[in-house]
Symmetry: none
Subunit: 216 residues, 4 copies
């Protein structure tokens, strides 16, 4: 099933976020967003991103999906577990999305460009919201949960490191460059609003690429 999923992902690089989610759901890697659990995770992602983890109450969450707060604990054992699951699903989705984007890129430069745009899309798309949570709410996670997420996260980061290395970006070793980049990109959540800034996501990706790309 894992393999099946990867095959599908590879073949359909031009899939819409909705299609990609559908594929990953069928592969058992993501929770069905139509299920109670899935609706809860989506609502959580949205609220944690908007208001922050600790300013979001389980009552807010329950209200958002139209149940009572007590019922949440039939699906998750704690509020923190919800955060953890959100982060895992977001990571899985972002990984799949980025892998498919990178695979379609021809040159190292294009690969880097694809990574940047893919991450920005993950941050700002409505499809599976919550990417900025990975950065902003990292400290809200227990050590145990952090480890769980890091396991999935490593895979995602490896794609980045490869892209940065092969594109020969300035700024020294790829780890440091990537860390500066993750800060820059995730912070866009706080200020970039597609409608207001007169800037589209691809345009924003261009700007970031101009900065981080190798000097020609």
């Amino acid at each position: 099933m894992q393999e099946g999923a990867q095959v599908v992902v590879e073949v359909q690089g031009a899939m819409s976020p909705q299609q990609l989610i559908g594929t990953l759901v069928k592969a058992g890697e993501l929770t069905d967003p139509a299920s109670p659990r899935g609706r809860l995770l989506n609502a959580a992602a949205r609220l944690f991103e908007q208001k922050g983890f600790s300013r979001t109450t389980v009552r807010d969450l329950a209200a958002e999906v139209g149940i009572l707060s007590g019922s949440i604990f039939h699906h998750f054992s704690s509020k923190e577990q919800i955060l953890c699951e959100v982060m895992k699903e977001v990571t899985i989705f972002a990984s799949a999305r980025m892998r498919s984007a990178v695979e379609q890129a021809a040159s190292p430069q294009e690969r880097l460009r694809a990574c940047i745009q893919s991450e920005l899309e993950a941050i700002h798309e409505r499809a599976v919201p919550g990417f900025s949570i990975l950065v902003m709410e990292w400290r809200s996670l227990s050590d145990k949960s952090q480890k769980e997420v890091l396991l999935l996260r490593d895979e995602y980061e490896q794609i980045w490191l490869d892209a940065i290395n092969s594109a020969r970006c300035p700024g020294g070793d790829a780890t440091v460059v990537r860390r500066l980049m993750v800060g820059a990109l995730s912070h866009t959540y706080s200020w970039f609003k597609a409608r207001e800034n007169g800037l589209t996501i691809p345009e924003l990706a261009d700007r970031a690429y101009q900065i981080f790309a190798p000097k020609s």
Copy 2:
């Protein structure tokens, strides 16, 4: 390029953080860090940075300076006001620090380099902790407080925009570049530890400079 950086560091040594604070205190722009209010603000900056605003209780804060929780409200009218005051003082200090660093830089490139290093020092120095709070806890501030801080913040950002513009950085208009930079630099708080990464702040500033500086 490394040399340019080192020059800045030496020159800037003209006034230590402690001295600068002393000057600002005498000018009535900062609270005396030895006063009860000042000790509270410093402790708040430290704790808000370490644990986050909402995970820090007023009891934590009180314990940190050796008083009882009720006594805090002699000096501040609410927990949120403490955050606001911390942000204002941090901004004032960071502005003064950066202005003096920029003034001693000879070229546009050196000015940009000075800005980067100055902000990194603000983030990681112990002198006036709390710079990363400005980014990380922005949403914990009420609209009213945000406006108060923004008034001071504008001044600080203007120095940056001037530096970015005159250095002719890539990435389009200076506002967007600065926003990407803010994210990149403030996020270093989460991962950069001078002792562990085998990287000093000037070295880290160099890396960032290599990325954001104009392509030669």
Copy 3:
């Protein structure tokens, strides 16, 4: 004159306080006193009357009905809302009670007499305690809550004004007379104890009637 009073008492006996409450509960106008919310409201009425609103803590209230203080906020959003709800329910109950008493009175004089006795019973009966709160704790209510209660209160006061007008009481316009009466009657809560004063409520109502009734 004593006889007139006794007739009213006998006739009014047609419905006991308990029965009237039952009817109002079924009609959805009062909270069921057996429900958690109803038990809380009754306890609040008792305590606010005995100790005053601000000297009654939500912990007192919770202890009185055998729950913990936090649980109160499942039923009410604030302590002040409890006061508001108590006042509304007391007003509704007192209105219904007085209306039925007045309807059974034959003459204008008997109607006034019935009003006086009905209000005294509302003040001193155990059935729905809390009438004196309406006067004594009025200032503890926010402006918004005051308006809510006044809406219900107007109806109650209209019955009084009609009775005063048709009985041709001395003392000028009915509004002023009623206000003097409200003060006189509600203050009895502070000094009248049926067992101690050697005076029953109907007897006390007689005394008040002798004072406020038209001079023959």
Copy 4:
């Protein structure tokens, strides 16, 4: 000195409130309203009347007279003692005022009329505010303080009982009549505003007199 005071009071029946206060201050029966203690008592009377005892903080009180809250305790040992002293001074002032008013009345009816007007003036005059506190905040007083005030109060009430008895008011024994009256009159504080109701204090006294006076 006690005698001297009484002589003065007798002789100058037409004294203004200010003059009467001056006399009582000289006789050592009231605190000089210009002294810090006196200003505190006046402010307390005003605030307790406006907002209620428990809703008035010692900080409010201090702010009202322009000192800091800690300084209050150089003049009074507790907040409750302030209330007690206010009540005592108000009682002394109201007694002196009513005694002089009653002495100038020719008939029993006029004496009753004088009592009513005198009490209304005590309630609504600005000179020594706080009469309504005697009724409204009685429960805020400790048992010990209640006894102290009652000692002075008895004298005041005796004047009333004599007036009621000699005027042959309806409503049974004078104690009950007086109690109904004190409720009616003190409650006027809550609704009577000289400027708004189109009713002066003497006119209001007339209305009350028409109600409580003997039926002709």
